[in-house]
């Protein structure tokens, strides 16, 4: 059975003005969709991956095209869910306490995460993860993610490939990262924390 492109959790206009509908059209409709198409092309005749989930394929695949496409399918789904309209701002719920415990304050966490996201060189992702019961900020290159690298359980991600922000912010990645804070979906983060 083929892997499917999951629907967006919100309307494509919902994240404006922070992320435009035009960006969503390209990012979801072209980039994310193309990773799904390529992944399906690669697994369709391979019994090793028949019936496997994207996550299973991603964890099993060796470095290379199959991993890149599977991981990028998974990463982007996680990214869409890491953001929501009418969200953003300071956290509430269990994650707020864990943030204070690990970083001292939300502001310190925000600063650390923003530095990781804005400062990551080349394509990649910034993550909030739960590692051995503690929250950490990590970044990964290209298609890689904390599950593949054993860096912890992902709770939130920000895509810092240039295609994520170039239409709206051009080279100004820090401005995009700042906008991400108006979208961060703490409900998703708390849900991932609960099941970790």
């Amino acid at each position: 059975m083929a892997i499917e492109l999951p629907p967006l959790p919100w309307d494509k206009n919902a994240l404006a003005p922070h992320i435009s509908a035009e960006t969503i059209d390209y990012h979801y409709g072209k980039h994310h969709a193309a990773y799904v198409t390529k992944l399906n092309g690669m697994i369709k005749d391979d019994p090793a991956y028949a019936g496997k989930s994207v996550k299973e394929i991603m964890l099993a695949a060796p470095a290379g095209g199959l991993f890149n496409n599977a991981a990028q399918v998974w990463n982007h789904t996680f990214y869409w869910n890491s953001m929501a309209p009418n969200a953003g701002g300071a956290p509430s719920g269990p994650i707020a306490d864990k943030i204070n415990a690990a970083f001292g304050s939300f502001d310190n966490f925000k600063s650390q995460f923003s530095t990781a996201a804005a400062g990551h060189f080349g394509s990649g992702w910034a993550w909030l993860v739960l590692k051995d019961g503690k929250l950490e900020v990590v970044s990964t290159h290209d298609a890689s993610n904390p599950l593949k690298e054993g860096l912890g359980t992902p709770l939130l991600t920000c895509d810092v490939w240039e295609h994520a922000y170039y239409v709206d912010y051009r080279n100004a990645r820090p401005a995009y990262v700042e906008a991400w804070w108006s979208l961060v979906n703490w409900e998703w983060a708390n849900a991932r924390l609960a099941e970790a």
């Binding site: 390209y26 193309a34 080349g122 290209d142 295609h163 239409v167 080279n171």
Partner: protein
């Protein structure tokens, strides 16, 4: 009076009323300074070798203004900040890149990106592209199976270069090769001689063709490649 040397070759000297070119790979010219007054050397942003509208509609003025004026310019600024007060302060760009490789990732990233972009602007020109003549044409025939095979492989290696990076034509010893690098990496630090490069970081093409990197690659190969520069690198 400040005089800037905007020749690819990486070092620009801004000293009142004196200027010289250092180690240009195109001309090999190197002249001593006319005076030994305090020399403050810094990495400079070379101007584009063409008008910012010259590559329209393939690469827009909008892209060039940001790619050159923001991305490339920032790498220059950060490199200069990082070498200030260090023993690399007066080094050539190539020396900085080689010194930083494996030792100072942040400096390497910025300095190498200056080098890469300096090289890239010379690799494209209006009404370029198509089949080469001269030395590189002969090498393509000898080592890469002819132009069609070269074009197919170079396009595949440009489109298939996952993430941010560069795809090169380079001499490895006496053999012509197509080489993919990621992020700021370059074949110069692998002992190869770069001849041609395409920038496949998304910022190189996103405003013009968005996700369709293949269109940008085709435009590069068919209409932009500056084969004269490639042949000059073989001289």
């Amino acid at each position: 009076m400040k005089t800037y040397c905007a020749v690819f070759g990486a070092v620009s000297l801004a000293v009142a009323s004196h200027a010289f070119m250092v180690g240009s790979p195109l001309t090999g010219v190197s002249k001593a300074p006319a005076s030994s007054s305090t020399v403050r050397m810094a990495v400079a942003l070379p101007p584009l070798p063409f008008e910012d509208t010259a590559l329209e509609p393939l690469i827009s003025k909008r892209t060039l203004d940001i790619h050159h004026g923001k991305h490339h310019a920032k790498y220059v600024t950060v490199t200069n900040e990082m070498i200030k007060g260090t023993d690399l302060e007066n080094a050539s760009l190539e020396e900085i890149v080689k010194a930083a490789k494996g030792k100072n990732q942040g400096l390497f990233n910025n300095a190498a990106q200056v080098w890469n972009h300096n090289f890239y602007w010379n690799c494209i020109k209006p009404n370029g592209g198509g089949k080469p003549t001269g030395k590189v044409a002969a090498l393509i025939d000898r080592d890469l199976g002819g132009f069609e095979a070269f074009r197919k492989q170079f396009a595949a290696d440009s489109n298939g270069n996952f993430g941010s990076g560069w795809t090169w034509l380079a001499m490895d010893g006496d053999k012509l090769k197509i080489v993919k690098t990621s992020n700021a990496d370059l074949p110069l630090t692998q002992g190869m001689t770069p001849l041609l490069v395409i920038d496949v970081w998304e910022h190189a093409y996103y405003l013009d063709v968005q996700n369709v990197r293949a269109q940008y690659v085709d435009n590069f190969l068919d209409k932009l490649v500056n084969w004269d520069f490639v042949n000059a690198n073989l001289a």
